[in-house]
Symmetry: C2
Subunit: 458 residues, 2 copies
C-alpha cells in the first residue's frame, strides 16, 4: 500500500519516483506487522505496529560509524552526532531539546563503529513532532563554526569521563589489542589529539558525504500508522530538498573483507584504580555468520546470566568479582568475543586462570545439555520480554534494515534459537573458544604481575 | 473480594485471620486497577493490572535500609540483600538463578537508605515461578556461614568498583557532607572495615528482626490476576510458617524526626581522576512534603533535561561539561537537593560559578513561566510514558504502599503536576535554593584550588 501523498506525487513525476511499499512481516492481530516503503530518493522507512501501547519510538539510522574514519578523522562520526543537536536553519539547540522535553519525550543518539542512530521516544500523539524534529536535525544541520568549538569541549569532557570509567574503557583497549590502529580498532570517541585537530569543514564534509538519504534508514515502532509516518517523513525530507535524486536507490548493507586472527597479545595499561579491569577474548563471528544463533546460546551459557558458568565459578563459588560476564560483538565481516571481569589486583591471577580454564573446558565440549537448554530458554524468554519496549523494537527493525537488509519475525527468531542443538554449540565453542586468547587489562598492576599475565594467553 | 483459599482458611481460624482486600484505584478498561490484600500475619499484597502486556514484574519491598544500621552494622542491609540470593532450605544459589534464567527473566534487588527491594520480571505465564522463588528467598534464606564468607569478597569488589566510578561515589560523599557520620549519612554499601568485621550471626539477627511479614510489601504489576497472586503468595509464606501471628498488622510507613540544616560545608577528596566530579547542594524536601510536586517541576526546569537551565548554560552554551544535572532525594523526614557536574579540573571554578549563579537566580524568582510550563509538560509526558513498563509500575505501587501507605492514580498524579503554579515553584525555589549550599568534590585538585572552593558556598 502506498500513501495518498506518494500516489499523488507519482502522477506528477516520472514513474520511477513512486514510493514502493511492502509488508515484510504480517504479524498477528495487528501486532508485529512490519512494513517498508522505499521513497524516491532512496530513503527507506520501516515501521512496526504495536497498537496496544500509547508510545512510539522514532529513529533514523545512518550507515556511518567510526570504521569509516581515516586516522585524522578519528572521532568525526561521534563529533558530528553531537553537532546535529546544535541547531538547524529552523531550530536552535534549545528549540530542538525544548520541543521534545516539553512533551516528556526522551531524545538521544548513539554512535558505533558501523552505524549512528538518532531517536526520540514520545507519546503516540506527539509522534509528528518527533518526526519533524529528528528529520530536521538529519537534513538541515548547520554545523556552525561556533558550535563546533563549544561542542569540542563537551567531547573532550566525554573522553575524560570515559577515561574515569575503567570498566568501560577496557573495551576500547580490547578493540585495540585485537584490531590495532585500524578503523575498527580505533575508539568511537576519537582521542584528545584528533578531537583538538578536527576542523569545522572536515566535519561538514563528512556530514554531506555520509548523510545521504540512500544511506539512511528511518524506523518507527509502537502505536504508529505506516502510511502516516511515511507521509510525514517524506514531507520533512522534501522540504529539505533531500529527495531530489528520484532515481537513487538505497545502499546495500555494509560489506567488508577484514579477517581477524587470534594474536595472543597482552596489553596492560597501568592506572591507579581500585580494581583491575580485564578482558580475555578472541576473534568472534561476523554479524551475518550462520553460526550466530549457536554463538548466542554459547555466550548466554558461558557468561550471560547469574546461572552462567563464569558467574557461578568466579563470583558465586569463590567471591572473586562483583561483575563478570561474556559478550559478543559482530561487525560486517568479523567479530569479537570477550570475557570481562573486574576484581582487585590481588585476585587477577586467580580470576584469569578460572576464566581461561572455563574457556578451555567449554571449547573442549564441556557444556552440558542442561546448560544449553537453559541458555535457549533464557534467550527465548528475553526475546519475548523485549517486545514490550518500543525503543527496542525500533532498534531491531532499524538495525535489521541497515545491517542485513531484511527483517525477521519474532517467531522466526524464536525458531532459530530453539533449533540450536548442543552439537552446534559444541562446534562453535571449539571454533571460537579454542583459539588462542588475547588479554587487555587496566589497573594498578606491578611489572612483575603484568609479566605473569602472558602465561594466561600461552 | 477475597480469594477462595483465604476464605477457606478463614473458616478454620479465628475471624480476624480473614484476608482483607480493597480496590484502591479503579482504573479504566481493566488498566491501572490497583488492589490491596492484607493477609493474616500482616503481609500486604498490592497489584496493578495492565492486561495489554505479556509480562509481569513481581517484587517484595522490605522496610529496612542502611538508615537502620548502627555504625558497626553499616553495610549489613546490603550484605544481607546479597545473601538472600545464596540459597534457602529448598534451593541452592544456582537453583535460584537458574530458575529465572531458564525462562529469560531478569531477577535483581536493590538496597537504599530506607528500603530494600527484590524483584523478578518474567513472562506472565512464568509469574508463579517468580513468586515461588522470590518468596522462598525472603522467607527461607539460610545465611550459611560459608556463603557469608564467599559473598564478603563480592561486596568488597562492589565497593572497589564503586570507588572506581567517581561520578557515582561523589553522591556518597555528598551524603556525608550533608548528613555526616549518621545512619542517613553513611554509605549503603558500608566500608571495607565494616564489611570485614561483620559476622554471620549479626547478619542473621538483622534478617530475623527486619524481614517480618508486617514489614514487607509484596507488589506485582502487569498481566496479573490479583486473587491468584494473593493465593500464591499466601501459600508460599504459609509453607514457610511466616504468617502464624494471625493478628499481626502491617507496620506504618516510616516516620522520622531528622531535621536538616544548611551547613555550608566543603569536602574535597583528592583523587587522580581525569575529571573533577562535583555536587553543589542543600537540604531538600521530605518524601511526604506537600511542596514535592512544585519541587519536581523546579528540578526538571533547573536540571532535568537537555533544555534545562543548567544543561543550556554549562554544556550547550559553553561546552564546559558532558554531564550536568540536578536531582532530589526524599527521605521520611528530610531530603537533599543537588546539582552534579563532571568536568576537567581546569573548568571547575567556571562550572561551579555558573551553577551557583543559576541557583541564586532561580531562588530569586528567575524561572520564566515558559520554563515552568515546559517542565510540567516534561513530567506529565514522562509519567505517561512510564506506564508501559511493568517494572516501573511495580516499583511505584510497592514503594507507595511501603513509604506512603497509600496509592495515587496516574490521573491524580497528572492533576497534581498540572496544578503546580509558577508562584508555587518560585516559593519552593526561594525556600530550597535560597539556602546556603554545601559542596562535595572528588578529583585531582591542588590545595590552592580546593581552598578557593569555599568561595562558591560563601
Amino acid at each position: 500500500m502506498t500513501s495518498r501523498t506518494s500516489r499523488t506525487t507519482a502522477r506528477a513525476t516520472p514513474a520511477r519516483a513512486v514510493a514502493r511499499t511492502q509488508t515484510l512481516l504480517k504479524g498477528k492481530d495487528g501486532i508485529g506487522t512490519v512494513r517498508r516503503t522505499t521513497l524516491p530518493g532512496g530513503l527507506r522507512v520501516v515501521t512496526e505496529t504495536l497498537p496496544s501501547v500509547r508510545s512510539a519510538t522514532f529513529g533514523i539510522w545512518v550507515n556511518v560509524g567510526s570504521r569509516d574514519e581515516t586516522p585524522t578523522l578519528n572521532g568525526a562520526t561521534h563529533y558530528l552526532e553531537h553537532l546535529l543537536f546544535k541547531g538547524t536553519a529552523k531550530r536552535s539547540a534549545l528549540d530542538i531539546s525544548a520541543a521534545v522535553d516539553a512533551v516528556g519525550g526522551e531524545m538521544n543518539a548513539f554512535t558505533a563503529k558501523e552505524y549512528t542512530c538518532y531517536y526520540a521516544r514520545v507519546l503516540d500523539t506527539d509522534l509528528p513532532l518527533a518526526i519533524d524534529v529528528v528529520c530536521d536535525m538529519l537534513t538541515g544541520s548547520l554545523i556552525a563554526p561556533e558550535d563546533v568549538d563549544a561542542e569540542r569541549g563537551v567531547i573532550l569532557e566525554e573522553i575524560a569521563m570515559t577515561e574515569d570509567d575503567p570498566g568501560d574503557c577496557v573495551h576500547d583497549l580490547f578493540a585495540h589489542t585485537m584490531l590495532g590502529d585500524t578503523p575498527l580498532g580505533r575508539p568511537v570517541l576519537g582521542t584528545v589529539d584528533t578531537i583538538n585537530a578536527l576542523g569545522r569543514d572536515q566535519i561538514a564534509r563528512f556530514y554531506k558525504r555520509h548523510y545521504d538519504p540512500t544511506r539512511l534508514v528511518v524506523a518507527a515502532a509502537g502505536n504508529v500508522d505506516h502510511a502516516r509516518v511515511v507521509r510525514q517523513v517524506r514531507a520533512a525530507f522534501d522540504r529539505a530538498g533531500a529527495l531530489e535524486r528520484t532515481d537513487a536507490e538505497p545502499t546495500a548493507p555494509r560489506a567488508g573483507s577484514r579477517t581477524l586472527r587470534a594474536n595472543g597479545k597482552v596489553e596492560v595499561v597501568n592506572r591507579r584504580t581500585e580494581q583491575a579491569h580485564v578482558i580475555l577474548g578472541m576473534p568472534g563471528l561476523a554479524r551475518t555468520d550462520d553460526r550466530r544463533w549457536a554463538m548466542s546460546v554459547l555466550n548466554a551459557a558461558l557468561g550471560g546470566g547469574m546461572s552462567s558458568r563464569l558467574f557461578q565459578e568466579v563470583r558465586e563459588k569463590r567471591g572473586l568479582a562483583y561483575s563478570v560476564y561474556s559478550y559478543t560483538s559482530g561487525f560486517a565481516d568479523c567479530g569479537l568475543f570477550g570475557v570481562y571481569a573486574g576484581c582487585r589486583p590481588s585476585q587477577v591471577d586467580d580470576v584469569l586462570r578460572i576464566c581461561r580454564d572455563e574457556l578451555d573446558a567449554v571449547a573442549g565440549g564441556g557444556l552440558s545439555d542442561d546448560e544449553v537448554s537453559r541458555a535457549i530458554g533464557q534467550l527465548a524468554g528475553s526475546t519475548v520480554l523485549g517486545l514490550e519496549d518500543t525503543g527496542a523494537l525500533m532498534n531491531r527493525i532499524g538495525k535489521s534494515e541497515l545491517c542485513w537488509g531484511e527483517q525477521m519475525s519474532v517467531d522466526d527468531m524464536l525458531a532459530k534459537i530453539s533449533a540450536v542443538t548442543p552439537d552446534e554449540v559444541r562446534e562453535v565453542a571449539r571454533d571460537i573458544l579454542g583459539q588462542r586468547p588475547s588479554l587487555s587489562v587496566i589497573g594498578p598492576l606491578k611489572d612483575k604481575q603484568a609479566a605473569r599475565l602472558h602465561d594466561v594467553v600461552a
